[in-house]
Symmetry: C2
Subunit: 697 residues, 2 copies
């Protein structure tokens, strides 16, 4: 869902942009608490042997149906459809619900009654309701001996058919998930909810205390939480499953579980692929991010309203920059590459390449495909990447252009993000009443066009076509002036009128989007043909052999779907000094005093005024060794009884490398303690109704 | 002077890094107040006809000998050797004179007695004392028919000989300046001073009020001034020439003059060269700047001491980023390129290429040389550019390595920056007692090494050689741990011991510098051989023909040497609103209130406490149409009588494009009004002695 990419999705645990392909399983038994496990195949043996814990089917089903999927993760926490997630996951909606006069992102929000809850303009949530193995049907549909490109197409077609048929049969949102590098295909059916309302959010200054300085660091002191409520037919959802609140919280050494939706890991990349990541993909992406961070900082300096409207995007960019820097630092560590190389050499001996000849060696095929990709990665990233030319109006225009092209086709033949199952999301975004700031739009388009001119040269055919004889700034101004797409009614008219309405329109931005889309599709097709299908086929060859050997006792790389992780609460050593697992509210005030006046370290007025009310010994944040990654933001941390003891909101700096390799000496997941949430709701926000709803007290 | 490049030279009017070659003269009569004129060939006719002003020889000599050359510009303003320049020109010295306990950059400084003046660790100043035309001697030494590379070498050799001989003859610092694209060679002889002491600097918050937000903008409210004093033989310099202070200041519409040292203009670039600038050089440099800005911001967030030590560099990077962005925006304007193209087409008809055949067409030769340069520009910029791997310790290590290599050669055969005439500067920097922050050094080296790995790939031979099997962070830590070059005595010992001492040393950074220097020289030589000499020869061909036609009635492109500009004080129109020429002190407080609490808009405590003392109607900053560029920072603005009425410190945003083309509709130079300087010295700083020294009252 949400394939209509918004300019920037703010996730502390960032979800990197290009999902190359859902990859393989791990090669050797997982060390310690490694693993993002399928709820349908939990690590029973490890849990039993190492931690004396045996999850029942009922326990697993309850956790599965209490977990909520959105841009990142969340969980149902009351019988009346209350959903808990991170402030930084809800922040886009907070920004969209704000105006120059009412800044919810900065000032927070509390609905004391159901009537006061604010409907989010374009937020959807899903709960995973059923899982079905469809591997055989997929395999049957992809004839042996097809070329990688043809196999890729055949697979795509059968997946779309399965999804559409299941959707009609079950009434659920259906999606086939490719696991273990293609060795298994699971059909996931979701209940979907689109009436979501804001219940409570704290102020930005306490939710993101420490700002960019403390982001991905530990110790931390953040109340990174907010609450939404799912409505169904205008009434609060009657939740069949929801998580109970732990009365006592957790303690150092406790076993805890995290249920969430890790977006993507790349732990099974070949060494050639890691080198591509290190030398091409990450440097290119960081290049765009550094630029964007500076450009946005400049825009925000223009005044308070500019600072407000670009705030969410700015923090998202900073967050991505820090996350990708962490991965790159890992890749620049020669030990890490050497370790991966050793494992790969072993694997290439243990798992002989299928097909028997060097031409077919999957490691070599991956290397060759990536060499080809080097030639156009920059251009592809500029047109289809996440940090390039992005604007809300342009996304709308592109959505209209693509809808008109795709809708006439049978669902299975459309671009995946325009299949029937996705249309509700597409329209939710397209008709979103969220306000659009034209200044920021013009800035984004000018910045994106200039980026293209900087990278490809101003005389490049694509750049010249898009600029149409103007400078980037002049062209952006003309496009923003020449569009009516700010108006939701205009969008609706164009969407309903289809190709004919588009052809008749004189909207400048639509005309621009048509040019852009043509070039973007060309490159997307080239990428799928020359790179993605090759990678998929080669990784499948590696993975199939691996799967035969290790089976489902391994976890698959993350795929934006529900996973369970587990680990122990516990501190670590850093620079010869011990970092304890828990911080407390007293520590918040110490850090505030220590960093007085520095950006990111302000406290909201009420946190200064009401300090005396707080029990300062209340645990505030804690770390545990559960295996998480981008997309896990907002995941509940639960104890053996499945009760909430915390809320994941970050990983520490050592955990950034988890994208490519798990380590647990110092890498940790960072969570808000459930006791701090209750203490703050009660003493800072007087949110007694909410406390009662969560705790029953 | 100062060829040992410091990591970043902070100049509002930034001096871009690669001086390709001093270029040609303008093709057509200058419009309006265009022109950075030689003091030896002032625009007599224009001044007389347009402004009724006829500068006498005495007036010109007085101005020449009152002007001071340093990293940028300054002027003598008292008989006792007092020098006025910008705060942002003095800021590097302010930072070097600071410690964690005494932050002169932030808090300012005032010496109430001569004894209290602070000697700067490594600041040199020059005053231009004589000018001699040596064109004939140079031409005679470069035989006709030489290849571009051989001609380049022959020219370099004869220039070195002339300089050395003149130095022995006159006792002055001597430098041959190539003007009008090589059509003229002038020998400039300078008096040089190395005992320079800090007299007065205001607080950063008032010197740079508005920060990055208002930088290159107008209206402005900055007291961007500071004062040094030149000492000779331990006594204040008895200045033969110095500027008097205007009693009344200047008014709207007044003719004013600017005497300063514009670093480099590129107004005579061919269109192919402008395209190279637009599509290769500026994007590459900006890419490094954006990255560095973010990296430095992260470093500064670590704590107040980190914020302090990296402050000067950070503001320099922000400033360069904004300046280069302005030039790039100009180049992205298709009108500008079309205009340049029209002029070039005309010129190619009017000035037929010499040699007669297409092979020799200088425009084509420039285009071909730049095509070759594209192949290694990135690598060259990484090794020899200004924004790549730079650290103070590494500069010292490189200085030692290069000194040992160069000193044994005859002066004329050395790298230009190690000729006898430059050695005093080299040693001044090498033995500078300025404190070096090891945290920042490790950060700079790690960041620079990582930049190389990002751009060239971690497996690139150069990168692997420099990293020596470590990650960038680990390698940087090892180098900083393994060097004794923080200690000035250790540097002195190594410098005096020459090659033998270096060979015996186990200093890790020295060993690194040797590797680095070898690669850096290879690329530098390749650049000179394949690009610089070709460009020089082709531009000379264009320029020689031009010079025959237009002669010295034109001004040459800027060459970091003394120039006079002139213009009228006057406002302009922007977005339909009129921007007046002058701001006043009342406006400062209005802007402060309007932007309360935003970064860059704080005022120093005394400016809040003593507000009532100020005559708020005092003019604060003003704009004029005088033609300036990077390097003009600190230039005095004088009236027809040669009296100080202001101090150039910036150009507005429209003036950034002056690097490549002069326009005067909205582009302006920005200056501090002399009256505000006196008002502030008297009422804010109680600096009555200084006021008396400046005004005689």
């Amino acid at each position: 869902m949400r394939r209509l990419v918004r300019p920037f999705v703010l996730l502390k645990l960032v979800r990197p942009p290009v999902l190359l392909f859902a990859l393989a399983c791990t090669a050797v038994p997982a060390p310690a608490d490694e693993g993002m496990w399928l709820v349908s195949h939990p690590p029973r043996e490890i849990l039993a042997q190492r931690h004396g814990f045996e999850p029942t089917a009922a326990w697993l089903e309850h956790m599965q149906k209490s977990a909520v999927r959105m841009d990142a993760s969340g969980s149902l926490v009351s019988r009346d459809g209350l959903v808990m997630t991170n402030h930084h996951v809800g922040s886009t909606q907070l920004e969209r619900l704000s105006t120059a006069e009412r800044d919810l992102l900065r000032d927070g929000f509390l609905a004391r009654t159901r009537d006061a809850e604010l409907r989010c303009p374009d937020m959807a949530m899903q709960v995973l309701w059923r899982i079905e193995d469809v591997t055989e049907r997929v395999s049957a549909a992809v004839a042996a001996g097809l070329s990688p490109a043809d196999a890729f197409e055949a697979r795509r077609r059968v997946l779309a058919e399965i999804e559409q048929e299941a959707r009609q049969r079950t009434g659920l949102d259906c999606e086939v998930v490719t696991l273990y590098g293609g060795a298994r295909q699971h059909l996931y059916g979701y209940r979907r909810y689109t009436d979501v309302r804001l219940v409570m959010a704290p102020e930005m200054d306490i939710a993101f205390f420490g700002g960019d300085t403390d982001n991905f660091e530990y110790p931390r002191y953040d109340l990174d939480v907010c609450f939404f409520r799912i409505y169904e037919n205008g009434e609060p959802l009657k939740a069949e499953h929801y998580l109970r609140w732990s009365a006592g919280g957790a303690a150092d050494g406790d076993l805890v579980f995290v249920f969430g939706h890790p977006y993507r890991t790349q732990r099974l990349h070949t060494v050639a692929h890691l080198r591509f990541l290190r030398d091409v993909e990450l440097p290119e992406k960081l290049r765009s991010l550094w630029r964007r961070e500076v450009k946005l900082a400049e825009f925000r300096q223009r005044g308070p309203e500019q600072a407000r409207v670009a705030g969410d995007e700015f923090f998202g960019v900073q967050n991505s920059r820090k996350a990708l820097t962490g991965i790159l630092q890992g890749l620049h560590d020669p030990e890490l590459i050497a370790e991966k190389q050793r494992a790969e050499t072993l694997l290439r001996e243990v798992v002989p390449a299928r097909g028997g000849n060097a031409e077919n060696d999957p490691w070599d095929r991956i290397e060759r495909a990536l060499l080809r990709y080097r030639e156009f990665f920059g251009r592809q990233d500029l047109l289809n990447g996440r940090y390039a030319l992005r604007s809300e109006l342009l996304e709308i225009a592109l959505g209209l252009v693509r809808l008109a092209d795709e809708l006439p086709k049978p669902s299975a033949e459309r671009l995946p993000e325009y299949r029937d199952a996705e249309l509700e999301s597409v329209y939710l975004q397209l008709y979103s009443p969220a306000p659009i700031n034209l200044d920021l739009e013009a800035h984004r388009i000018a910045s994106g066009l200039s980026l293209m001119a900087e990278r490809l040269g101003a005389d490049d055919a694509l750049v010249a076509e898009l600029l149409d004889g103007r400078s980037p700034t002049a062209r952006a101004a003309q496009l923003v002036r020449g569009t009516t797409l700010v108006d939701v009614a205009a969008r609706r008219q164009l969407a309903e009128g289809g190709a004919a309405a588009l052809a008749a329109s004189t909207d400048e931005l639509l005309a621009f989007a048509r040019r852009y889309d043509r070039r973007s599709r060309e490159l997307r097709e080239r990428y799928e043909r020359e790179v993605e299908s090759e990678l998929a086929s080669a990784y499948q060859a590696i993975a199939a052999a691996r799967f035969e050997r290790f089976g489902e006792e391994q976890y698959p790389d993350a795929t934006s779907t529900l996973r369970m992780s587990f680990g122990l609460i516990g501190g670590y050593e850093e620079n010869g000094r011990s970092v304890p697992a828990f911080t407390d509210l007293a520590g918040l005030y110490r850090r505030h005093a220590e960093r007085a006046g520095q950006p990111g370290f302000a406290l909201p007025p009420r946190w200064l005024e009401r300090r005396e009310r707080l029990r300062l010994e209340t645990p505030f944040n804690f770390v545990c060794s559960a295996d998480i990654i981008g997309g896990n933001s907002g995941s509940p941390v639960v104890n053996r009884s499945g009760e909430v003891v915390g809320l994941v909101f970050d990983g520490n700096i050592h955990g950034l490398v988890w994208d490519i390799a798990f380590t647990e000496t110092r890498a940790r997941a960072v969570a808000v303690d459930s006791r701090a949430i209750i203490e703050a709701l009660r003493e800072m926000y007087d949110a007694r109704e909410l406390v009662a709803e969560l705790t029953g007290r």
